[in-house]
Symmetry: C3
Subunit: 273 residues, 3 copies
Amino acid sequence: MTGLSPSGIITLTTDFGLRDPFVGIMKGRILARFPVARIIDLTHDVSVHAPAEAGFWLERSFVYFPAGTVHVAVVDPGVGTTRDILCAAAHGQYFLAPDNGLLGTLLARATSPAAAPAVVRLQPGALAGFGIGAPSATFHGRDIFAPVAALLASAACEPHQLGRATDTWQPGSVSTATTDSQGVRGCIVTIDHFGNLITNIEGTQLAGFHRPEVLAADRSLPLRRTYGDAAPGELLALVNAFEVLEIACVNGSAAVSLALERGAAVRVRESAG
Amino acid sequence: MTGLSPSGIITLTTDFGLRDPFVGIMKGRILARFPVARIIDLTHDVSVHAPAEAGFWLERSFVYFPAGTVHVAVVDPGVGTTRDILCAAAHGQYFLAPDNGLLGTLLARATSPAAAPAVVRLQPGALAGFGIGAPSATFHGRDIFAPVAALLASAACEPHQLGRATDTWQPGSVSTATTDSQGVRGCIVTIDHFGNLITNIEGTQLAGFHRPEVLAADRSLPLRRTYGDAAPGELLALVNAFEVLEIACVNGSAAVSLALERGAAVRVRESAG
Amino acid sequence: MTGLSPSGIITLTTDFGLRDPFVGIMKGRILARFPVARIIDLTHDVSVHAPAEAGFWLERSFVYFPAGTVHVAVVDPGVGTTRDILCAAAHGQYFLAPDNGLLGTLLARATSPAAAPAVVRLQPGALAGFGIGAPSATFHGRDIFAPVAALLASAACEPHQLGRATDTWQPGSVSTATTDSQGVRGCIVTIDHFGNLITNIEGTQLAGFHRPEVLAADRSLPLRRTYGDAAPGELLALVNAFEVLEIACVNGSAAVSLALERGAAVRVRESAG
């Protein structure tokens, strides 16, 4: 028993894009089992086959949803193979995702006794008991994730009824920024719609610096509070609303200005100046 | 009388894109007449002015929605001209679309006595009786489709009250793959977000082959079960979750690899090897 | 007291795009305070940092929503600086937006005594009284706009409880087309998904012409009723469903054909022919 009371809300995070009806079909399957579900698109434009990016955003986003929300994340290059699907109760919410590292960081951060995650590997026999039959080879979002999300959100079942408990899973694939005597070394996790470069460097990792200097693409950037603290066209770094270091260009795209992509190195050190 | 009981769900399929407020405005019109409508976006990124593509996806998608769902499809290069709008009760669901071939295949496949479609051509006089006045010349999605969908989904009217019954309409514009002694000849109907090439060749058309070989762009591709059955970068064919032949590139884009577009020929034959 | 009765509907207009979870997170915050909110995306692909474009579409769209709808518009290059946020009751609806000109035209057109806008500048102290604390420096959509929208839509408060009444604000940043003896001079406000060029020239400004001729990019275009009134590939002008002049290319993109961008000049004059 997780003791969670479902909020009736289901969020969807995928790399399906919105060009095709894949997301709409998932919603149809959800409504067929749970007609009053409230379904929220978190994003469907995760970089294709990038579970790390999906996991990063999901881990930074779930807290803004009511307790008992069901978060479905389908970034799943292994669909149709033997990879498992995990169903986790953690942080007071439910999570459904392939066991490919997407949930790793999120589960690793749910370690206090009160918040320890309860994780289950979905099993075909258990699913069959709820009328979820053998899936297609290529669209488990429709065939498994959607109906399971509806079951959980409608309180028709608890995770432990859907498979076998487990306490191992793929670790998170977002690397953690490291701190040593030279400063902090991290990387760009994702690039947003505005061209802002979002890193894995936590705001808390900057606490010890007196005059921090951010280094990226051989440039030294000042650390500011918000976009309006620099002039149009200027590059700056800031701790963003998700509590990680971000590099931005005022009224422009830092991704274009610096020609950086996901994975590129970013450092923070004490300014010599 | 169609005998259908509305599910309260309305799906939307358009080529309007999401850059402009057109889709949002349609939803406003729906909620103004039916405040508890549950509205699902099937897709708004159908290739511009491609009713065949919209019809293909709608025909493959509606089955995942509850009986009595209202499916609205507005891919309508003839808006404002004399083309009619069809309202059909078929397959246990409602469909609204311009009479431009979009619904042709879907209606042709609803031919059993139990599932025979009941189709009506909307008429201005009938619509006026429900408070739907003369439309603008360019946005019938807002002025006709949205309020009619709200009427149907809220059980405020039946299709026969909206116009005149008809048993002819534009045939489907998706061609059907043909089978002869050489094998099966079809074409690419649409290309999805992942660059997968989706054809009009039904999985059932492959039943007679012992060792099928898929030919596209002068390449011979193996038929596999799922993406994980080939190595990263490899091209393969499979029968996808919509029961049609699809050509994919593992962790890549088949559309880019093969430089193929919608309409390109795809063949299946018995392998000589 | 505004005397408005909330419809329970909230619309969202932003330049956030749909690649990242920003919009989904706003919806989570709304549902956390108002679980039965019906949230409609008007558009999230306003040109980045273009409040004028957002204001244009919002002013042309709100009328299609029920009275008492809450319209949230976050195109906000000044986030985190001293710019204010406005909450207006006007035209029988609620509007929330930064004071950067976005609402200027919309409010200027609500001037009759019955429709006079009641406008408030949000104040931190007032927000704190409703549990809305100090915001992050970069994401007021999540930290202020979403919870305030939920308060208004759920009738938990009235605008005057959220701040201080004001009767001045930034004027609208969409210029108005002017009429003189030479004809009408306007410009392109936005370009839609189809490549149609949408201008600030009102349909009513064309009333005095006998044989109007539309001039753009050194071309003379005929004024027609709808797209079907010209041949495929031809350019034409029409008064669109939003009552403004639009330049279109039948089955093509006028933006591509004419190589015009936002801001480009468009004129209408009496044809000499």
